[in-house]
């Protein structure tokens, strides 16, 4: 879980992807989601997944990206497991082609994770909130989002401190059955929630003291402007999107199992 969160955490780096306009990257993540959504065969989905690896390299985030994908494996296994189970329950688990279709669903999920983590890993939350702002999302919503990201690490640190403090008082967190264990987390949650509320108060106080809500027309110091490379990237994504639809309606994809079989000679 923690490494999945880590995968979403932005780190400042100098790369072409980091420099792209956040709106273009958001469009990319959404376009990939649509592309993966319309396809349900293994071959195109696998292509979509692998085609993102060079992009991760371009953004200099290969290791973080791979770690995010790895962290999503339990969910992938869950998807495969439940699908296999229910297909088997219905008695339609008859051949390997069905297994391939089920695996394709898992790959589709990986494609989602891959594209969104490329987006979040190369876009600073400030930029993202600016993009949302310029797309007409109300500022208070953007601020909420930004503050949530800003204070996540603070809250995590606070949770650790509270856990240590309660352990020092003799609280045993990893003992007993699941219900007993969950109950032991109450003495951690309550101080954490109380602290969060206190923090919210002092934040609100500081915001008020800096003219929060003073003017209906808030100015923003930063302005996002689309440059040549943004238009280029946008066109490339749009082109892939059109190609994906074309492929869906006009191409027929073979199963990859026979290909693997003949390659291995079985």
């Amino acid at each position: 879980m923690s490494s999945l969160l880590e995968g979403l955490a932005f780190q400042k780096r100098d790369s072409l992807l980091h420099k792209l306009d956040p709106r273009v990257k958001l469009f990319y993540a959404l376009a990939v989601m649509v592309m993966a959504g319309v396809h349900n065969k293994m071959l195109p989905l696998l292509v979509m997944l692998l085609a993102q690896a060079p992009l991760a390299a371009l953004g200099k985030i290969v290791r973080l990206w791979a770690r995010t994908l790895k962290a999503s494996l339990p969910l992938v296994l869950l998807i495969i497991g439940t699908n296999l189970f229910f297909t088997w329950l219905r008695g339609s688990l008859t051949d390997l082609y069905i297994v391939e279709d089920i695996l394709a669903l898992a790959v589709r999920f990986l494609v989602f994770v891959a594209s969104f983590s490329i987006f979040t890993l190369t876009t600073s939350p400030d930029d993202l909130s600016l993009a949302l702002e310029q797309m007409g999302v109300p500022y208070s919503f953007c601020f909420m989002f930004r503050a949530a990201l800003r204070f996540t690490p603070v809250m995590v640190r606070e949770a650790r401190t509270t856990m240590d403090a309660q352990r020092a008082r003799g609280l045993e967190l990893d003992k007993g059955g699941p219900i007993a264990r969950a109950r032991r987390y109450i003495p951690i949650l309550i101080p954490l929630i109380v602290n969060a509320i206190t923090r919210a108060w002092s934040m609100a106080e500081a915001m008020e003291s800096r003219a929060w809500g003073a003017s209906r027309k808030r100015t923003s110091l930063y302005v996002l402007r689309l440059r040549g490379r943004d238009y280029l990237a946008f066109s490339a994504v749009l082109f892939s999107l059109i190609m994906a639809f074309y492929a869906k309606f006009y191409l027929k994809f073979p199963y990859i199992i026979p290909i693997i079989r003949s390659a291995l000679g079985i």
Partner: protein, 282 residues
Amino acid sequence: MGIIEVEDVSFTYSGSKRPALDHVDLSIKKSEFVILTGPSGCGKTTLCRCLNGLVPHFYSGDFRGRVLVAGLDTREHEIWELSQHVGLVFQNPENQLFCLTVEADVAFGPENLGLPREEIRRRVEWALKVTGMWELRHRPPHELSGGQQQRAAIAAVLAMKPEVLVLDEPTSFLDPAGAAEILSLVAELNKRLGITVLLVEHRLDMTSPYADRVVVMAKGRIALDGPPEEVLTSREARELGVGIPKVIRLYELLAERGLRLPEVPLSPGQMASLISEVVRCR
């Protein structure tokens, strides 16, 4: 008339029985450096909140009397108007920085005011330079030291161009080096730019050399108000548990033993020169 006039102010938070402020009178002149001190829970923070309108606009309760800030009655003007005259810096720097870079944080106030972009850029640059944060402007707050974070918070408040800076225990989360960093910055802003300062502080060792006046509060009232040499040598101050600077204790102990210095020293350096003067005369 002073830039801040607190006239017979009493305030009780809603839900509380005891008044947090009890008939408080305080007048602060332009460019003055005033230290506000006193035991915890004596109403220092509430008084600070009165100065930019957080009381009575943000904290509700029973408010009596009148506070004038640059001639504006705080009951009739919104917090955002008052905050362009009085900048409030809080204890915990972490909760005052909401953005992911220092620069964005400093821009937050002027952006809220809806100022033209050029003006925002000018103010941000000025505030960052004046606080020595220009080089660190692209850094996220959580990567900074406590002293740097608090400096960023001061820059963020300065970008609102206030005439008065009110700092509520700005050093209590900082180590000694960070505290010294902040206090000398505040002293410089006061001396060089003529910004009026009200500093709530317990560490009087470090701060009293800068102060024109020390105000001591107790139980919601102003107990003592005067020049540091006077207030800090008074018996009442000691009885109220004010953190009397060590040089002043030393001055008093020397006096008890018959060595009377011509002045009350506020810093070790001043004390050293006073002592050597006296010794040379003998």
